[in-house]
């Protein structure tokens, strides 16, 4: 893992001290809310329905045990005993007091964390494949690139007042677990035919009001020129991105308006300038950062126990192995995904006790590391296969062993109208009821891989456009209604879901989802997963059944 140097540490400590002074001036009345709001947002502090909400950055979703213990302590000390892991691999606290927020930033700084650039029209926390560095067949660990981008983008003076927020995601694998094509910039690291690391750059993807799958604008960019290329993209956006209309201010609108060819031409013109400005890191610095992500000290000669576990395990352990455990690149190790989606629970929420338990588990049995997924689950990335049963028992004790990862009840949901001041409808209760409807595990296995994603407003924090089944909550004359879309995907075959038809009330939307699933079960080919069945069948058979007059 990356470890702060003196510069990093000083920066976050000074930022916390600066914010303490700003809060004091606000509380004394020296600063008006109008002046203070942008300052608090620059430190991730929002005002939501019930209280202030603090969004803490978890760079590329990687945490140490010490950091997760601190996040748990913050939940107890300053919040109400829980935190919410988000679709941007961050954590949010929902019940923060303004007067205590500087103390939280101090506590975060003590473990090399902060809330900088988790809000505002800046380059946000960079996200990555949550299996970075541990999944087999990866071209490179994307966290090296992420860390370089983090350092480049943190408090970047030229990009502190962009037309709109800006999100970057990176993957080093052929399989896209980071939804890179739904980001302002998506980066896929791969090796070219000569085995040299290169980057494919996608620009202008996004969800929200106007969803786009980001087009490829630069193929095979040399690794050594990444920063000067990103600088060029941001400069073009900063210069031409719209500032007159918040709904048309994201880079995706600019790319669409100019067309990919013209946009690429503009970048290349700018790139010709930036690449000679000395923006790219010297190789020694790249190597210095790379060293932080060197393989941990894996034990060698460990037995491969996965197959054995599958053969002799109890049914409950077997179910969990099947859902939560993946092969690791190091022999004898496994990757464990911890579901934060208990049946009927709140997606992404974890209690103080659960966070402490996971942190302790990681300390003992996962080489001191945890990952946060954009699907609102956590990962123990380095578990010895011989320890899997012990890990499972510990997770069972904390209610963290729901064997549903990747299944229909592993639902992404934004906080929705239960917490969020932007929301039009509640998301969480719909997720809870859907998971209860499909609670039976045999049924979930029969349905197979199916990603349901729910947003409580058009901003799309719940990634509804990228859901195999996407659900969007809307307000219709004061009532909650839910639109259903099918066929979205955030993976390497990225696609935007298509709207099925008229929306459903809160009372009927779960039945509607069940109807869609039943149609799939009736019409699928053997072994065909939901997404591919929708792509083959189109929407018509689903519409016919869903809107049939009874």
């Amino acid at each position: 893992m990356y470890s702060y140097d003196t510069f990093d540490q000083t920066l976050v400590e000074q930022r916390a001290a600066e914010f303490r002074a700003q809060v004091a001036r606000r509380l004394s009345g020296d600063l008006t809310e109008e002046h203070f709001r942008p300052l608090r947002l620059l430190n991730g502090l929002y005002l939501q329905l019930h209280a202030y909400m603090l969004r803490v950055a978890i760079p590329y979703g990687t945490l140490s045990s010490r950091q997760l213990h601190m996040l748990a302590d913050i939940a107890t000390k300053y919040d109400r005993g829980y935190g919410h892991f988000t679709t941007r691999q961050n954590i949010q606290y929902n019940w923060i007091k303004l007067e205590e927020s500087p103390d939280i930033l101090d506590d975060l700084a003590a473990v090399e964390m902060h809330a900088i650039q988790t809000s505002g029209n800046v380059i946000r926390n960079v996200t990555a494949d949550h299996f970075a560095g541990v999944i087999p067949n990866e071209a490179d660990d994307p966290r090296i690139t992420c860390e370089i981008i983090r350092q480049w983008s943190t408090l970047h003076p030229e990009f502190s007042f962009l037309p709109r927020k800006f999100k970057i995601a990176v993957t080093g694998a052929a399989e896209d677990r980071a939804a890179i094509r739904f980001h302002d910039i998506g980066i896929r690291i791969r090796r070219d035919t000569a085995g040299v690391l290169v980057n494919d750059i996608y620009v202008g993807g996004g969800m929200g009001r106007t969803p786009f799958v980001g087009p490829l604008v630069r193929e095979s960019l040399p690794e050594s020129e990444l920063l000067s290329y990103l600088e060029a993209v941001l400069r073009v956006y900063n210069r031409y991105g719209r500032r007159d209309n918040i709904y048309k201010a994201r880079i995706k609108i600019l790319v669409d308006a100019l067309g990919v060819d013209e946009f690429s031409r503009q970048i290349e013109l700018e790139f010709a300038q930036t690449r000679v400005e000395g923006l790219d890191l010297p190789q020694e610095e790249v190597q210095r950062i790379r060293a932080f992500f060197a393989e941990p000290p894996y034990e060698t000669s460990l037995p491969s126990e996965l197959a054995k576990h599958h053969e002799v395990s109890t049914p409950a352990f077997h179910d969990w192995l099947r859902a939560s455990v993946l092969p690791h690149k190091a022999p004898g190790y496994a990757i464990v995904t911890i579901s934060l989606k208990p049946i009927g629970g709140i997606p992404g929420d974890a209690s103080t006790q659960q966070m402490h338990a996971i942190a302790s588990l990681a300390e003992r049995l996962s080489l001191d590391e945890i990952r946060v997924t954009h699907e609102q689950n956590l990962v123990l990335p380095h578990v010895r296969q011989i320890d899997l049963h012990e890990v499972w028992k510990a997770l069972v004790a904390e209610g963290l062993a729901t064997p549903n990862v990747g299944l229909v009840s592993d639902i992404i949901s934004c906080p929705g109208l239960d917490y969020c001041s932007l929301a039009n409808a509640r998301s969480i209760p719909i997720a809870q009821r859907i998971s209860e409807r499909f609670a039976e595990l045999k049924q979930q296995h029969d349905i197979g891989p199916l990603k349901i994603k729910i947003s409580g407003c058009i901003n799309g924090c719940g990634h509804h456009h990228a859901g195999h089944i996407g659900i969007l909550g809307v307000d219709r004359k004061g009532e909650e209604f839910y639109q259903i879309m099918l066929g979205g995907s955030g993976d390497e075959t990225a696609s935007i879901g298509e709207l099925l038809g008229p929306g459903f009330s809160s009372d009927t939307v779960v039945d509607a989802v069940a109807n869609v699933v039943k149609t799939y079960l009736d019409l699928r080919h053997p072994g065909e997963i939901f997404l591919y069945a929708v792509r083959r069948l189109g929407l018509v058979p689903f519409k016919e059944r869903l809107y049939a007059r009874s």
Binding site: R26, E33, L47, H50, R80, L98, L417, D418, R426
Partner: protein
């Protein structure tokens, strides 16, 4: 601000120090109890109340005061789902309910 409607209104905001949901009560006091809220049906009175809520002194105490629709004559309560949730707390965490 809520859409203009003829429904009686209350003024709500979030308390500056801790973000707590509050309502403008009699004598310009902010209360966490909706039962204390001043309910006004007259547009002129509403404007005066909002002006008062938006005074500099008040804006050092609360954030974003707005008028909201209420429903019910004898026992008025917030009309919209959003305001009901603000009053009662998240529907998915009854253990954290405000009332």
């Amino acid at each position: 601000m809520a859409k203009t409607s003829s429904a009686p209104k209350a003024i709500t905001a979030n308390r500056l120090q801790d973000g707590e949901v509050v309502y403008l009560a009699a004598n310009g006091v902010w209360s966490t109890l909706f039962a204390d809220a001043v309910i006004v049906a007259d547009a002129g009175n509403l404007k005066a109340l909002l002006d008062s809520a938006s005074s500099r002194a008040n804006l050092n105490e609360v954030v974003d005061p707005v008028a909201i629709d209420t429903a019910g004559h004898d026992f008025p309560s917030p009309a919209s789902l959003r305001e009901k949730i603000r009053l009662r707390g998240p529907t998915v965490r009854p253990d954290l309910a405000r009332i």
